[in-house]
């Protein structure tokens, strides 16, 4: 749907499923405040367009929300999660911010470059992968990390990074989250704080 001919699509309309989701998004906001739904609608349009926002999609959203198209372009160009050009099927975003850098994001980024054969800002020839550098994704505890599509891949090293990318290359689904043994943000060495049995506590609303 994107760029096979090298030209951006000139028309766009939500599928009936997305139309329903768009309506539900608009309903979350007070009457007359439908512009509040511009960001969720742009996400829907981006997903439908294969991961990026052609101008026609932005204009469709503007029409639904009764906004001047320029107001929609302003939003789409301000927020980094909207892609204004085609991206690969798997958008690989490597965090290189402070905590990730301290823990080896340079090696993770190099491993991505080597495995995919592209640099930051480039897409592989088969259209399967786009590689990007990204600012802090709020997963410093599991540094270094990267995001692919909707999922976080954390506690990475070179082997884990190559493994994940190779699974995707083979059409598989790699396990998201921390690549080691821990769950989410829990301390790497197990709990160290407040591990004692709680003391008897004060008032409870048992009568609730």
């Amino acid at each position: 749907m994107s760029g096979e001919t090298g030209m951006p699509p000139t028309d766009f309309a939500f599928t009936s499923g997305n139309k329903k989701l768009a309506k539900a998004a608009v309903a979350k906001y007070p009457k007359g405040r439908q512009a509040s739904a511009v960001m969720p609608l742009l996400f829907l349009a981006q997903r439908q367009s294969g991961g990026w926002l052609p101008t026609a999609a932005m204009e469709h959203v503007a029409g639904i929300l009764d906004m001047p198209p320029i107001r929609v372009y302003e939003v789409a160009t301000f927020y980094s999660m909207y892609n204004l050009g085609p991206v690969g099927k798997h958008h690989v975003q490597v965090c290189t911010n402070l905590s990730c850098w301290l823990m080896g994001s340079d090696e993770v980024a190099d491993s991505c470059r080597k495995t995919l054969g592209v640099d930051f800002g480039e897409t592989t020839e088969d259209g399967l992968f786009t590689l990007s550098e990204v600012e802090c994704l709020g997963a410093c505890v599991n540094a270094p990390m990267m995001q692919i599509g909707d999922d976080y891949f954390e506690d990475l090293d070179v082997t884990a990074t190559e493994g994940i990318l190779n699974v995707l290359k083979g059409g598989g689904t790699p396990k998201p989250g921390p690549q080691g043994a821990r769950e989410g943000c829990e301390p790497a060495g197990g709990l160290t704080t407040l591990t004692e049995k709680p003391e008897a506590q004060g008032e409870r609303s048992g009568e609730a």
């Binding site: 979350k28 911010n97 301290l102 976080y152 060495g189 709680p198």
Partner: protein, 421 residues
């Protein structure tokens, strides 16, 4: 203090489900609030607890709530700031993913106290898993009658929605967050008017952080005196500290406010992962000025850190060992702020562009004589001259790096290479 408060249930992998919450003390704080307290009494209780906002600024929560006009024709709104993006911070994610109902309950209590009928949780766009967890939890809360119309037969109505951001750090600033919910670019507004008077859609609005709101049900159940009994007198309660960087055990640690930074890093964090000496620690996310190793004997609370010229911020503690190049840390940090500057104020937009460019040159060994002084001059032109604290945070972080490690910057200029690596 032996009790976990905010994270006491996160070890239970099913606690994001309402059944597990209700089997513990889930929503009992809300039920108690609705049955036994007037809205004014809840605001008083939160004021008495001395709870201070956990998002970074540390503003007194009860006081913030008291600014909202009681008698007004306009609707009022409650927004939860879950746009967690300060590098080094990952505490709200832990609550959102593992105990989303405590946040929903805290918001419902706050909404009742403030006379709010609609709330939004602004979750950073990249937290896909967390946003889906919250949406599912909200559906469950509606189903069980803790959200929606006539909650627990009290006559109180509250609708809650998830709003997903799209990758802009600046939207963690409360007025930028409000602009974003209105469907605009996330650019901060001039204050005053403060959101409590004119916020979302020009209506009275309270914006509170996830961790702040998660404290509310506990304060309702156990009282202000219990809360005040934890940690220092002027900023009580437990705090979620985020440990990352060169540390053996990175993680989210719940400890009383005011714990010593060295104790946190060395005892709980296990020291550096390499066993090498600590060089510096950032105590509260990259906006917070770094402290050299010699200054780590400091208490982690708002007042103590402010007295040392830095801040508790979001509680994002980043540890750097002796092999770390501080010039590169400064380059990466300022590069981040430059990327995230919303572009509204010239000192921040252009100042950070130049500072970032200069630091890249310095880091690459191509610095010129006078560059360090030029960086300091840029900081002076940014600090205090912008609508929001983003520019201030960048300037403070850079100033601290130069102040404590000036010799490294000078070495880069004079020798054209790094002192440590």
């Amino acid at each position: 203090m032996t009790e976990r408060v905010l994270l006491k249930n996160t070890a239970n992998p099913d606690f994001h489900r309402i059944d597990a919450c209700l089997a513990a003390e889930g929503y009992q704080g809300l039920t108690k609030a609705l049955r036994k307290f007037s809205p004014e009494e809840i605001i008083q209780l939160v004021t008495d607890s001395k709870l201070r906002g956990r998002g970074g600024a540390g503003f007194a929560t009860g006081l913030k709530w008291s600014f909202v006009p009681k008698e007004t024709e306009r609707p009022k709104y409650l927004c939860c700031n879950a746009d967690e993006g300060e590098p080094g911070t990952f505490k709200d994610r832990e609550i959102i993913e593992k105990d989303p109902h405590i946040l929903i309950e805290g918001m419902a209590i706050a909404a009742y106290a403030l006379g709010v009928e609609t709330g939004y949780i602004y979750v950073r766009g990249e937290f896909d898993f967390g946003a889906r967890r919250l949406e599912e939890a909200i559906r469950e809360a509606y189903r069980e009658g803790y959200l929606g119309k006539n909650i627990r037969a009290s006559g109180f109505n509250f609708d809650l929605h998830v709003f997903r951001g799209a990758g802009a750090y600046i939207c963690g600033e409360e007025t930028a967050l409000i602009e974003s919910i209105e469907g605009k670019r996330g650019q901060p507004r001039l204050k005053p008017p403060f959101p409590a008077i004119e916020g979302l859609y020009g209506c009275p609005t309270v914006v509170n952080n996830v961790e702040t709101l998660a404290c509310i049900p506990h304060i309702l159940l156990r009282g202000a005196d219990w809360f005040k009994g934890i940690g220092p007198e002027d900023s009580p309660g437990t705090k979620l500290y985020c440990l990352s960087g060169h540390v053996r055990n990175p993680g989210v640690y719940e400890l009383p406010m005011g714990i010593a930074l060295r104790h946190l890093v060395e005892k709980h964090g296990g020291g550096t992962h390499s066993g090498k000496k600590i060089k510096a620690v950032i105590p509260g996310g990259v906006s917070a000025p770094m402290l050299p190793e010699s200054d780590l004997d400091i208490d982690m609370d708002f007042a103590s850190l402010a007295a040392a010229g830095t801040m508790l911020g979001s509680g994002g503690v980043i540890v750097m060992d002796e092999t770390t190049c501080i010039v590169r840390v400064a380059m990466r940090t300022i590069g981040f702020f430059h990327h995230e500057s919303c572009g509204k104020c010239t000192p921040c937009r252009d100042g950070l562009y130049w500072a970032s460019k200069l630091l890249k040159r310095l880091e690459a060994g191509k610095g010129k004589k006078g560059d360090v002084e030029e960086l300091e001059r840029l900081c002076g032109n940014i600090f205090g001259n912008t609508f929001c604290p983003l520019g201030d945070g960048a300037a403070m972080a850079l100033r601290a790096a130069i102040k404590h490690f000036r010799d490294e910057f000078v070495y880069h200029v004079e020798k054209g290479k790094c002192m440590v690596s």
